[in-house]
Subunit: 293 residues, 2 copies
């Protein structure tokens, strides 16, 4: 059993990006520029945005956080997005979710210029990804595929079973692994809350991607020997063994499943650390105009 | 075994559309207007476009075919598309494929205003379909879903196995049947040329959708009793039994598979007749501004 070490791969990717930024800077003077819109003061959102800023600094990107009180109106926020769309210095930007209830998140996502949509949530980028055109792939599915690639996990002709059909993980990663080429060419099965015979299907998986948000749901009897397991879940549960009184667990019962696996992600330290690396990759693509020319 | 009679359903849909057109016309004077661009003189394309014109006439739509010689340049064709995009009278239009080799088909597809893209091939419409937003769904996947709906085929929790991962059939129909609600909530498996254990998977199918373009590929030993089979393939093969010396067959060996099925599409007369009905539905949606408001 080998760990799919997201922390290590994330550091590799960041080092590669930092070196490319130096290169671009020396050749053209250009510095990739990522902006983030943060509405309100949600603790988790503050942390995510802060970590993104740190990551930008680390690889040599320019970054800026635009903060707004949660009283901002939808039209006010849309106006701010238009400013970023129109600002030629900004290569890409994100709007940190969730947004206050009076703002329609889908409307906000669709207001972002697809060329600057480095979160990859705009329908144009989703459609381009599904069709197989160059696109910004959203962070979690991109991180999963990157992990498989960096560990040279075989994918062609393998049966990949995805648990969860969300628009941010299950559905896009299924579409990605279905494409021709590497990492891809998988037979793909997507299961979800309405699937009655989950275990019958997970036992067929050569690659099992779990994104259900159900702590320790996948047990040893649900996976065959030699499976590659990617666990996207992360939930805080009470624990008597830690000082804090809680611990983070994935959707997979790691201790009992890991011995049966050829590869498995730890939680934390699996897919999580790769999401910011994917955002940086997309911003670099945007700065280079790789997707839309 | 019951036949999924695409011809009958197509006539039902056309009758419904004709009645809605009368209704719209009497209320607002508006007549839905579909335009088609036809480049060159390919026999099959001429037939398709002609059938679309006939269907428009039958339901009371206004239609127009814009014909261009195959010497038209890409920029010339793009200019014609811009004219249709800008023409407020045209609700929707299609560009009949294939196009001459000197024209980039993807570029043409992306030049169509998504609001008028009644073929549903623009990345925005593909992305919206995948995410689950209102969109124009392309003709074949929409036809398949419509057949299941009209015959009240149970889909929730059923295992739908799709053979073929094309952008025009396999991939979109898989994404559609994965959505919440009816017809949807399927567990979905997508197989293709790189799948090594096809029979093992097809034997698990409650609903089997075949879109491979391999005549009579699916045999009786590959399906379990009671399966719903939707055959999208249509190939002309030599036959000693017909006067013409050929016959049309699907991807499924109908005679031996049909007795095992609860429902099965005939070929011809299954999905085929529904594709034009789907195009008419999309044009009606466009005229009513149902997708983009």
């Amino acid at each position: 059993m080998e760990l799919l070490d997201g922390k290590k791969i994330s550091e590799e990717i960041r080092a590669e990006i930092a070196s490319e930024v130096k290169d671009i800077k020396s050749k053209s003077g250009k510095i990739p520029y990522l902006a983030a819109i943060l509405v309100g003061h949600d603790g988790a959102s503050e942390t995510y945005v802060h970590n993104k800023e740190l990551a930008c600094a680390q690889v040599g990107f320019r970054s800026q956080v635009l903060r707004f009180e949660e009283t901002i109106s939808e039209s006010g926020l849309l106006a701010e997005i238009q400013k970023l769309n129109a600002n030629p210095e900004v290569d890409g930007f994100i709007v940190q979710m969730p947004l206050p209830k009076h703002i329609d998140e889908q409307k906000i996502i669709e207001a972002i210029d697809p060329k600057k949509d480095v979160d990859g949530f705009h329908p144009v980028n989703v459609g381009r990804m599904v069709i197989g055109l160059p696109s910004y792939i959203s962070a979690t599915p991109d991180g999963i595929v990157e992990l498989l690639r960096r560990y040279k996990v075989e994918t062609a002709g393998k049966h990949c079973v995805v648990l969860g059909r969300s628009n941010i993980v299950g559905r896009p990663v299924a579409n990605l692994l279905l494409h021709k080429g590497y990492p891809g060419d998988c037979t793909v099965t997507i299961c979800h809350s309405r699937t009655p015979n989950l275990k019958e299907l997970t036992l067929q998986a050569d690659i099992l991607i779990v994104a259900m948000g159900k702590p320790e749901f996948v047990t040893a009897d649900m996976v065959k020997n030699g499976t590659v397991v990617v666990d996207v879940g992360i939930t805080r549960i009470p624990s008597e063994k830690t000082k804090s009184g809680w611990k983070l667990v994935g959707d997979v019962k790691f201790d009992e499943v890991a011995p049966k696996c050829s590869f498995i992600t730890p939680v934390p330290g699996g897919v999580g650390p790769l999401t910011i690396a994917s955002l940086l990759k997309n911003t670099l693509k945007a700065a280079r105009k790789e997707v839309y020319g």
